[in-house]
Subunit: 378 residues, 2 copies
């Protein structure tokens, strides 16, 4: 079979995880989950498919075009394969866990499936992990989830982590206050097109120009923002931003923090302070999060999702592994003892003329001889 | 919202994993995978969906009626959502890993989805984990996978583990040799209906009666089997069975082993020595496995799959967890220190009038006071 036909074994955007990457992905994921757990986030595990109407409700609305549908022969109702886990967590928080005391801290990890890949993420299946902090609308909550994401990502080896904070409600609020067309304003801002922004003219144009120029490293961005005269609702958001940045600078002093007040792309359901997690020099984002409202009860909530594919591109590769070969002459119980000590121990299944050659052939680095482990020469 | 409507939140047979069960399931799964890894089984991770024709090829043929289908808008071809992971592992071994040295040891873990639940397993989504040992057709290989399954299951707390070994090709071979109708013979054997088996008459009836009576604990079953005069192909299978049992009795001396030579249900694709893993007193099987052939190249293979839902019913429940509450007065860095020490530490997000009451309200068992952890009284 040629390499070409091997590639066509799977639909576009789907792949087989092989050794050692699959084990590495799973180890990184469990390490992230241990951090989430250590902050008191309880793991929940929603199913891969559920009724379409629930999956695409509330924060899930934007996932409609990305979601595969299935007919459920039992209920005769349409189900969707999850394209995002956050809407499922929101559903669980608003229903099964509605009586649990707030703040409610939930963590999750799992695979999602999407109808089509994008240019930035051609994968149609990838793993997400994340946390949701529900029931508290305070800068302390915003700061906790950013701190947790940063601490967890750095622990799995993301060296050049950068958190970009934005206020995705700022520009829409300005548009509404001054009667501007959102689409037009977003287009000008997205291209960082200062002349188009300036051309909007008047008080709104000047305000948007000032906000556009106030993006950058947190310290200088906050200084520039502080000098802008902001109408009341925007000033409240700025105060929150200042409080969150101050908390993060105390909790994770060496974290690279930037602020981009006018960023909004991909924050369709966010209703307040949001953020993107990057590794400098690595394509794509590691994750993102921000403030939203639970459907129904309207609990304030914030949280984040990280993407394992990007994390693995940014994290160091797995350390090479040692494996010891156990010839057929190995006494009973030796394998069990070595495995308890943490060794990967591969048992010979038949006599080999040359045990060392056989050990190397099956990928072992060491061999057990007379009760002692000896490294194999290449 | 009533409990009734909560139940109808999800399609039948699908469920939300909540705390503490979801974290427990994942911990048990990772512990199993560590055992698989320690025997040299490399983790692979096939996708949730793939082309229907590959998924339902070879060992996957029997999963056809259980598999949800999706149209892939990219390739315009039909895909299936996996209902079993073993066929995917077989595909990978026969294609991407066809040039890897044999024996090839592969491990996997993941969720599968099925169109309908069964009476024994009403769940339509559940987690599988398993191992495949490819390229070796020897009793040593059969014994290794059974030993590994047993060691791993006992380590996650399955106390009353029992392995039932069967030879699913025995009865079909007899039917073919003596020109008997398989359906009729299976029906009689499945009901353990001795009179119906005896009524088959002649040499075949006597042989089948003897085999039916030879089921039970391995030691006595092997003694009874040894006394039966078996035609050549069946005698070879018996010799293999004796060799595998002897190896297991040495490797895992206290393992409860039974033999049921005429068992065949659910071993549709197995072509030799097979087995079922039970916990005595627990509904459903923990897992199963056996010998098969890889499609295409025809590599001999054996392996097993375990089901996390049954394992969790049979394993001890998770130990109650301690969580320490950090009041807002907690100095910077204390939370990080406690979490490094292994504590689950929940930070207060706002001043509480009574920290201890607040700690209890959010489910903490301990509180940090003046740098010391104090258990909370109830």
């Amino acid at each position: 079979m040629s390499d070409r036909s091997e590639r066509s074994l799977l639909p576009n955007g789907l792949r087989d995880g092989l050794a050692p990457e699959a084990a590495h992905e799973s180890a990184v994921l469990e390490r992230l989950m241990r951090h989430f757990h250590s902050y008191g986030y309880d793991r929940i595990d929603p199913p891969l498919v559920e009724f379409e109407e629930n999956l695409l409700d509330g924060v899930g609305t934007v996932m409609g075009p990305h979601t595969f549908r299935l007919m459920d022969p039992v209920s005769q109702r349409m189900m969707g394969v999850r394209a995002d886990i956050t809407p499922q967590v929101a559903r669980i928080a608003a229903t099964r866990l509605r009586k649990q005391p707030r703040p409610l801290r939930l963590a999750y990890a799992g695979s999602v499936l999407r109808v089509r890949g994008t240019q930035l993420r051609p994968e149609r299946q990838f793993r997400q992990a994340g946390c949701e902090l529900i029931g508290v609308d305070s800068p302390a909550a915003d700061a906790e989830v950013i701190e947790l994401a940063a601490v967890a990502l750095r622990d799995v080896g993301i060296a050049r982590l950068s958190v970009d904070i934005c206020l995705p409600t700022l520009v829409p609020t300005i548009c509404d206050m001054f009667g501007l067309d959102r689409t037009q304003v977003f287009a000008a801002l997205d291209q960082k097109d200062a002349s188009a922004v300036a051309a909007l003219g008047g008080e709104a144009g000047a305000l948007l120009m000032a906000l556009l120029r106030a993006s950058g490293p947190a310290k200088t961005a906050l200084e520039k923002l502080a000098k802008i005269e902001l109408p009341e609702p925007l000033a409240i958001e700025r105060t929150r931003l200042e409080a969150v940045v101050a908390r993060l600078q105390k909790a994770v002093p060496d974290l690279a923090l930037t602020v981009d007040p006018v960023e909004h792309k991909g924050f369709e359901y966010q209703q307040g302070l949001s953020f993107t997690l990057f590794a400098r020099g690595v394509r794509g984002e590691l994750g993102r999060g921000g403030r939203y409202s639970l459907a129904g009860k309207g609990d304030p909530a914030t949280g984040f999702t990280v993407y394992l594919d990007t994390i693995l591109r940014a994290a160091p590769p797995p350390a090479p592994e040692r494996k010891v070969f156990l010839p057929t002459s190995t006494p009973d119980g030796e394998g069990a003892r070595l495995r308890r000590e943490g060794w990967v121990a591969v048992s010979a299944l038949s006599e080999a003329g040359d045990d060392a050659a056989e050990a190397r052939r099956v990928g072992c680095t060491d061999i057990l001889r007379d009760g002692r482990i000896e490294p194999l020469k290449n």
